[in-house]
């Protein structure tokens, strides 16, 4: 699950990587801006947000796992299903 989220994030990184570009902060205010020289800031922000969302989901998932373990004493799906019956 987390692997999948991470791979989507890598996909975002891979489509936005740019050779020879720098961070999206203007180097000089007098020269005209050339978009080729700067990385696109948007995928960066998307990636960051996706990471935060992923961390939150992972946190809730682990909390649920811990609660299940405390209740059923096992994390094996087969064991738990038997105990549920």
């Amino acid at each position: 699950m987390y692997l999948m989220q991470t791979s989507v994030i890598f996909f975002l990184v891979s489509i936005s990587a740019k050779k020879g570009a720098t961070i999206p902060v203007l180097l000089s205010t007098t020269e005209p801006v050339k978009a080729v020289n700067y990385a696109n800031p948007l995928p960066h922000v998307l990636t960051l947000t996706a990471i935060v969302v992923g961390v939150a989901t992972l946190g809730v998932g682990l909390a649920l796992c811990a609660a299940i373990y405390r209740k059923y004493g096992s994390l094996d799906e087969q064991d738990i299903l038997e105990k549920l019956k």
Binding site: M1, M4, Q5, V8, F11, L12, I15, L42, P43, L46, T49, A50, V53, A56, T57, V60, G61, L64, C65, A67, I68, K71, I80, L84
Partner: protein, 489 residues
């Protein structure tokens, strides 16, 4: 002032959710009045917003002044405003209902419950307003995370269901995000209206087709569309009784709203990509969901499980309505969405009362209630009329317009699917009533059970709303036709 309304509606429950754990740290019993107060204000502001949108046109809200293709845009149009009124009203009823049911089931976690409910409501508000694909993803995830936590909040068997939901829900969200990044890579924009302008030039692109497919599968998981519905009945059945009405009536419906947005506001739904007509595809998916969901509902023994499968079949009926490609069908579909949200809330309130007051969970045990609480059966009859779709209720008019739309489009398979699903719905309610009125199965120990006022109130209001939506169906449909139509329909 009025152009700030979308942000105000969103921030109300968000601020209440954030301040709840702090304010109620010492005084646990404050959490209920605070949530009720917040949601009452939210209902009022949503009604003002709807009035404003009807009379002065839609509100376009741009965050922190960044103009459209760069910044994040929210639009309060007719559709979002109508949904918002419904959403806030049902959330209010859900919270009122939880006054008596939740202290029993949740104990010390009551503050967490109210915090999560308010967070969920604010995220759903965000989904309804968002016109930015990535913003939509963030709110889908906030809504999803709060629902995982809400299902698991009381512990017990629900934990396992919540974990399964979490795994599938995260899969859906990741697929949606993958789809969004494909679309971004192809078109270079995330804003819906901007994207809608650029897409016609990109129709030959394979990345576009792949991205859209990923997005629709992701949203399909979120809204429990039939091949991806496995998480839903279990999660809603084992969730605490004060949680499942809110989840069942709102979460899947708002995910469906996101689907409608992408289908009509981003894509022009009538187009054909690579010889695949989208509308026909969605109509087939809807027909499958309508029939399979109702069939599975017929096979259930637990009441909540039966109602959850009923909800799955109704998602299919709504999809049939919106995929007819004409205004009648679309208005019918949206109207049925409103009705279905109310009916699902009413059904799960009933199931909650049946369990909390009478300890009844399965269909066979329902017979015990019959003599003790005839009024409960009365409410059930009203909701059943709505679910089956008999005349005085809103369910009838929703299905009526959907069928009219399908006939207009010459789509007889859709008509057949709606009819078959209706018959199956009739069949499982007949099963329910047969269990109630069967004599002599269980010894009748007539014991006086005091039904709390809040439960009676919520049940009364939802049952009345089912009838009222039917009686006033003509003006509501007219409103939807005038205000809530997609740009190119």
């Amino acid at each position: 002032m009025s152009h700030q309304l979308p942000a105000i509606i969103f921030l109300l429950p968000l601020f209440a959710a954030i301040s709840m754990p702090v304010v109620c740290l010492k005084n646990r019993h404050w959490s209920h009045p605070i949530s009720v107060g917040t949601l009452v204000v939210m209902v009022l502001v949503s009604i003002i917003n709807l009035y404003n949108v009807i009379h002065h046109g839609e509100i376009r809200y741009v965050f922190s002044g960044w103009s459209v293709p760069l910044g994040i845009e929210w639009v309060a149009d007719g559709l979002a405003s109508v949904i918002l009124v419904l959403l806030s009203a049902l959330a209010l009823l859900g919270v009122v209902f939880s006054r008596t049911t939740s202290p029993k089931a949740l104990g010390g976690r009551i503050v967490h419950y109210y915090t999560l409910v308010l967070l969920l409501i604010s995220a759903l508000t965000g989904i309804a307003f968002a016109r930015d694909l990535f913003n939509l993803f963030v709110f889908l995830e906030v809504a999803a995370i709060s629902s995982y936590a809400l299902i698991g909040v009381a512990g017990g068997r629900a934990l396992f269901a919540a974990f399964r939901y979490l795994v599938l829900g995260t899969l859906g969200a990741s697929l949606y995000l993958l789809g969004v990044s494909y679309l971004y890579a192809v078109s270079g924009t995330l804003n819906m209206s901007d994207l809608a302008e650029r897409l016609p030039l990109l129709l030959h692109s394979k990345a576009l087709v792949g991205g859209l497919l990923f997005m629709f599968i992701g949203l399909g998981i979120k809204m429990a569309l039939v091949p991806f519905h496995a998480w839903m009945p279990e999660a809603y059945t084992y969730a605490p009784d004060s949680v499942s009405p809110i989840l069942a009536s709102l979460v899947t419906k708002v995910a469906l709203l996101a689907w409608i947005r992408i289908m009509y506001w981003v894509l022009n739904a009538t187009i054909i990509i690579n010889e695949i007509p989208i509308l026909v595809m969605v109509a087939v998916l809807g027909a499958l969901a309508a029939v399979i969901g109702a069939t599975l509902a017929l096979a259930q023994r637990e009441i909540k499980m039966m109602f959850a499968y009923g909800g799955i079949s109704h998602i299919g009926i709504i999809l049939i309505g919106i995929s007819q490609g004409n205004q009648t069908g679309f208005a019918g579909g949206v109207f049925y969405l409103l009705n279905d949200a109310v009916m699902q809330a009413a059904l799960f309130f009933l199931a909650g009362v049946a369990y909390c007051q009478f300890g009844v969970r399965t269909v066979d045990d329902l017979g015990r209630i019959g003599k003790q609480a005839p009024w409960l059966i009365g409410f059930l009859v009203v909701v059943a009329l709505g679910m089956i779709g008999l005349p005085p209720t809103g369910g009838f008019f929703g299905k009526w317009y959907i069928i009219l739309g399908a006939l207009e489009a010459g789509n007889y398979v859709s008509v057949a699917a709606v009819v078959v699903s209706t018959l199956l719905t009739l069949a499982y309610f007949v099963r329910l009533f047969e269990a109630i009125f069967r004599r002599g199965t269980t010894p009748m120990e007539v014991q006086v059970v005091e039904i709390p006022v809040s439960s009676k109130l919520t049940l009364g209001i939802t049952s009345a709303a089912i009838i009222i939506l039917g009686l006033f169906s003509a003006p509501i449909i007219q409103l939807l036709l005038d205000q809530a139509m997609p740009p190119r329909l």
